[in-house]
């Protein structure tokens, strides 16, 4: 089966100013994103992540390179029919209600008239926006905007969902809700490509990650593989006394191993925050 997204030797140059100075945003990028996985595309601001996604979606033209989406040529209607997209900091017409926006996007995405109502309600339910769907978008909070953006991206049941910074500006509770939506897409067998600066969340959600810097790919692989340090081990010990520690160190040294640090396990601030404010909703 073909990859969800296949990019080969992609290069993008922007011309700047009257003299046409060349700025290389993406530099000879080759990347294969397998189907059915959650893929994190990471990198600092200006590293070429969003440009790459825009090229894949046909919003920006490539200077050089080959791209295919789900085995089809990119930037075609057929490829976009099978793709959903949530842009960074999404903005929608404020006078539309959430339900009207999702319906509008469903119609543009070619959802059949007979399936329209069910598709809209399913997408609103998946994004946990059913209750607020009758309100104008102008009254939505940042988190709700992201969630309604997610609903419009998945309303036509796409095989590939591209999310550009879906948690930017969203509080940890909203961010966790978006994480659950992404997980639900994975359960349905969809491919999700995620651009995010929330590395903790990416680590938890993604199956694979790629890291870009200055337009180039610097690392790509399964999360477990790229994060594991095979030359180090972590032991979690309960009720350790000084004597037990000394004995453990002696035993390790007898086998040529060396204890390099002893610390207390910590929970993340995000976990603590979510634990304390569980049940709160952004409305």
């Amino acid at each position: 089966m073909s990859a969800a997204i296949s990019v080969r030797h992609l290069t993008k140059d922007f011309r700047i100013g009257l003299r046409g100075l060349k700025l290389r945003a993406v530099d000879d990028l080759s990347l294969e994103i397998p189907r059915g996985q959650v893929f994190g595309l990471l990198g600092p601001n200006g590293c070429g992540k969003s440009t790459t996604l825009k090229i894949v979606l046909g919003l920006v033209s490539a200077t050089a390179g080959e791209i295919s989406i789900l085995g089809e040529s990119y930037a075609t209607s057929a490829a976009r029919r099978r793709t959903g997209f949530l842009p960074e900091a999404p903005y929608f017409h404020k006078f539309l209600t959430g339900r009207e926006l999702v319906r509008y996007c469903a119609q543009l995405s070619g959802v059949a008239a007979g399936d329209l109502d069910a598709a809209v309600e399913d997408a609103l339910g998946l994004a946990a926006m059913s209750e607020a769907a009758a309100r104008p978008i102008g009254t939505y909070s940042k988190g709700m905007l992201q969630r309604i953006g997610f609903a419009q991206a998945v309303v036509h049941d796409p095989e590939l969902v591209i999310l550009d910074e879906p948690t930017a500006g969203v509080d940890p509770v909203g961010s966790a809700a978006i994480g659950r939506m992404i997980d639900a897409m994975r359960t349905k067998g969809k491919t999700v490509v995620l651009c995010s600066h929330l590395l903790g969340q990416v680590e938890q959600i993604c199956d694979r990650v790629a890291i870009m810097d200055r337009g180039k790919l610097v690392l790509e692989g399964a999360v477990e593989d790229v994060l594991a340090r095979r030359d180090r081990h972590v032991l979690t010990v309960e009720a350790m006394t000084p004597a037990a520690r000394a004995a453990a160190e002696a035993a390790l040294e007898a086998h040529g191993a060396k204890l390099t640090s002893v610390t207390h396990p910590r929970r993340s601030l995000e976990d603590l925050f979510r634990e304390l404010v569980t049940g709160s909703r952004d409305a």
Binding site: V60, S61, T83, P90, Y91, H93, L96, Q107
Partner: protein, 277 residues
């Protein structure tokens, strides 16, 4: 219904809803309506023309001027709000072609201008009819036959003006597809409207013999590139019957307008297809 047409209509529906909510639209509509209504009280300054002609000139002048301003500014605003707010990113990532998006914008803006014209022309018709009834009553006493206005002519004028504004919208969309800023699109669009109003001067000059090949070529290109927007201004002839307008002439003007409209929309779609969002 064809899927492409359906997508275009959905874009135009949302464009229409967005446009009629704009304060700018409401402001120009109120201003135009005020001009039509004030024409009755200002008719004493008729400069020797017939009363109905003065009322018609004054009211249609407002409709024509504010309609042009609305067509240029609102169209550029509707286009650039999608680009600057990045709603275009969301929409164009869907199976929607750039041409469908641009056509949707066109039909949405054109529908708003249609509402603008119908409201103001309806008001103008009421004002003309009311004054005509007064003049008829006075004429019956004095035995003079007053000038009358034609409802059919008013309808034809609205259609002609709507087509004229459609050409303006198509030109502004083509400029917007190329322009980087809203201000540039508005300035160049306004200049294009002025050039269109004065195009008949170039047409006259082209018909006169000249020795300069370059000058003749410039006039030839100008007269074909720029539509003659003055040809749609038939208010006196159509509404007050000041001159006979042959049906063939109206049809010719209509076809000319449609040809320019299609040409500029095609040009806009071709430019927009290459634009990076």
């Amino acid at each position: 219904m064809n899927a492409s047409l359906r997508r275009t209509l959905w874009i135009s529906r949302v464009t229409f809803l967005e446009a009629v909510r704009q304060r700018f639209f409401a402001f120009l509509l109120v201003l135009g309506a005020a001009m039509v209504l004030s024409s009755v009280s200002l008719r004493v300054f008729d400069f020797g023309h017939g009363e109905l002609k003065f009322i018609a000139d004054f009211g249609f002048g407002g409709m024509f001027f504010f309609g042009s301003v609305l067509a240029v500014v609102m169209t550029a605003q509707l286009f650039f709000s999608e680009i600057d707010n990045k709603t275009a990113l969301t929409l164009l990532a869907k199976p929607l072609s750039r041409a469908e998006f641009l056509l949707g914008k066109f039909f949405g803006a054109w529908a708003v201008l249609g509402v603008f014209l119908v409201v103001l022309a309806g008001l103008q018709g009421l004002v003309l009819w009311a004054r005509e009834q007064e003049l008829i009553a006075m004429a019956e006493q004095s035995g003079k036959i007053p000038a009358t206005f034609s409802v059919l002519g008013l309808g034809q004028l609205v259609l002609m003006q709507w087509l004229r504004l459609g050409v303006v919208i198509a030109i502004v969309l083509a400029i917007s597809a190329l322009a980087r800023t809203f201000l540039f699109a508005v300035v160049v669009g306004s200049l294009a409207v002025v050039a269109g109003q004065l195009q008949w001067i170039a047409q006259d000059a082209f018909l006169r013999p000249t020795d300069s090949q370059a000058y003749a070529a410039f006039l030839w290109v100008s007269t074909r590139l720029i539509p003659n927007l003055q040809q749609f201004n038939l208010a006196d002839a159509l509404v007050l019957g000041s001159a006979a307008v042959e049906e063939g002439a109206l049809i010719a003007v209509g076809f000319s307008g449609l040809a320019y409209l299609v040409a500029y929309l095609t040009l806009g779609a071709l430019i927009f297809r290459r634009r990076e969002i």
